[in-house]
């Protein structure tokens, strides 16, 4: 009788073990890039790519419902791939996009935009990467959506693709 109780307890323990590690297999114990989502955008000031004397703060309150922040660099190949989608968002859909030019040569950044088109409302430079870290970025490219209260509502790490593009549009519309 006592043995039976022990065996039942043992069975329970083993089931709990299976349960935990079965779900553990599917869960992400690694990085969580979404920490900044639903947080207020930190105060970030950026010098313009076209005139280093101009300085603009990323708006923490804005009239438009949403705007986009995109971190990019001319040396980054995935940025080149996502560029057509940025063009669609910025030019076709007329969404305000603030670009952060990450650790780049300013001349090549300018020619990058000249060749591929400039979807940005404003391009600020981040020569030493500190502004991007302020945003909680890992590298390039990264895209953020900020709402009218300055809250980050979406963060995407890596190049944009059609799925993310649709997600951005549904979020904004």
């Amino acid at each position: 009788m006592k043995n039976q109780i022990k065996i039942v307890i043992l069975g329970l323990l083993v089931s709990i073990f299976i349960f935990i590690f079965y779900f553990g297999l599917g869960s992400n114990t690694k990085n969580n890039p979404q920490v900044m989502v639903f947080k207020k955008l930190p105060a970030i000031e950026l010098r313009s790519l076209y005139d280093n004397n101009i300085k603009i703060s990323l708006p923490r309150l804005n009239q438009e419902k949403f705007y986009i922040i995109n971190i990019w660099a001319s040396w980054c190949t995935p940025c080149r791939d996502e560029h057509p989608l940025l063009m669609k968002l910025g030019i076709e859909k007329k969404i305000k996009i603030f670009g952060i030019n990450y650790k780049d040569n300013q001349a090549s950044a300018r020619s990058f935009l000249k060749d591929l088109g400039n979807p940005f409302y404003y391009v600020g430079i981040d020569p030493d990467g500190t502004n991007s870290i302020e945003l909680g970025a890992y590298g390039v490219p990264e895209t953020y959506i900020i709402d009218s209260k300055g809250i980050i509502v979406l963060k995407h790490v890596g190049p944009l693709n059609n799925d993310v593009y649709k997600k951005i549009l549904t979020k904004i519309e």
């Binding site: 043995n3 043992l10 083993v14 590690f21 553990g24 297999l25 969580n32």
Partner: protein, 638 residues
Amino acid sequence: MEIGRQHMASDFGLVSLVLALMITALVPLLFLKHAAFKTELNYNSFYFFFKISFFLILSAFIFLVISFVFSDFSILAVYENSHIDKPLFYKISGTWGNHEGSMLLFILVISLYGFLFILFSKNLNESLKSTTVFFQSIIQLIFLFFLIFTSNPFEKIIPVPNQGLGLNPILQDPLLAAHPPFLYLGYVGFSLLFSLLLAGLITNQYSANWASIAKRWIFLPWTFLTFGIALGSFWAYYELGWGGYWFWDPVENASLMPWIASTALIHSILVMEKAKKLFNWTAILAILTFVLSLFGTFLVRSGILNSVHAFANDPRRGFFILIIISALTFAAFVIFILKSSRQGKDNASYIFLSREFSILVNNYLLIFALTVVIIGTTYPILLSVFAGESISIGPKYYNTILAPFVFVFLILMAIGPYLKWGKNFFSVVRFKFINILLVSIFLTAIISFILQKQDIVFWLGIACSVYLIISIIYETYYLKFTNLNYGRLFSHAGFGLLIFSITLNYFFSKEFTTKIPLGGSANYQDFKITFVNSFSQKQKNYEELFGYYEVEKGSTKVSLKPSIRKYNQPEQFTSETSIKNQWLSDFYIAMDYSKDPSNGIGVRFYFNYFIGLIWFSFVLITLGGFLGFIQRKNEKSN
């Protein structure tokens, strides 16, 4: 012609594997048939079948090695992990540098232990021996099923590619080629102890006599495991280029868990043998040791943990291993629960300051350390399952919790062996301890004075480890080199020396990360590092950029030549460290990859104080385990 021969090897391999599965299935069936009909088992033919299964698995493994050597890319595992241009040595080691091949090695080790057990247990009574082989064959069968149905190493790929993808460059290292086999000979070896335990319980022969039989089957895998861990540590030291030898990385912890459990077992089984107590606890430890070995495999293989030792992994396989672990654990504990009550209750009492008391405290402390390692390793998984959060648990957590434990443990290791079985003998030997204590405090003071270091943790680390070492020297002298238990002496001395050198290393090592332009130099405390020169060289499977550095420290001047390798297949960079030994300390430089070397190259410089002594300690501990394995008969006199 050549092509045909290659394919033949893989076909033979697959045939051997399937035959092995069938023969292995036959072994337990034979056993059960005789048990059911209560007929006498023909032991010789029973063992013969198991031996056949071993040779079939061995031949499957050899055929896989042949396929790798001849680069037979019709096999998926070869295609994914090998390349024609790879040196022969890494073609061979590539066999177990991937999941499928290493699982085959895993099974080979299970079978090898069963085989060795049959060979070296001539005098064992047949019921215990055959039941052990029965359980071993069941474990072997389970893993053969797992191998063939989820990770068949001979799986074909059509059409046959004419080139492979290559082996992960970080695995192209002579030490890492040797590391997994030793690790497996270690923790997979505990399967035999597990089978032996279940057999002992089932046949009602779980007794003090069982403990004397089982001891060697703990010592052997323990020795291999210790050596495997040491190799892994040494590999991490010079291949990863982070200057350290132990990172509390989940994969390292996975091998440490069964090591701690088996170390506790080595001690508790002595109590069982000599004092005829602690039966149930020893059984639990034996089960735990093997289960933790499998659990470690699960953690490494399933990709559930984030680790530097990136292994190609697959969650589906992880699920199968999880089910295997759970089933074996459940079955083992059910047998234990049903059978242990017949062996009498463990309500024996232990006399304060007797030998068995010291081993009880040893087990208490080891279980504590084991808990810390298990919790630290699995907590990120628990948290992500229950709270969806991710955290990291780094060295500081383990160091701060375990350091005080180690100090207490060292003292215990010094005192325990002087105590007598079954009586409180402490008052007789008390003066010895006080004398040794005074000597070690005196030595600590001298060391602290010479090295100009005043720090409580430093003093404790040195004093406790010196205490252990001196007590061992004293014992050797006192017993006039006769009747010594060399296994214990070597492993205990090794452990004392290990903590001694870790303490020194921890407090006196220097590290320094910087970027130095060609021709420039950097200063850090009393070190001066100069980047003298650089040049690049083309090899068969990689391109290498060397840097010449000169390091000055006072009057000593050392030149170092680290490099960055750019591998072709797959394209990947590795940093080759350069290490120069000066007395027992190392000067160590690793270069970083840089897109634009003219801008200066990042280097990481480490001065590793007394690191040589750490490796020596590992050797001593391993040697101790080996001596314990071959010397175990003499110990009765102790």
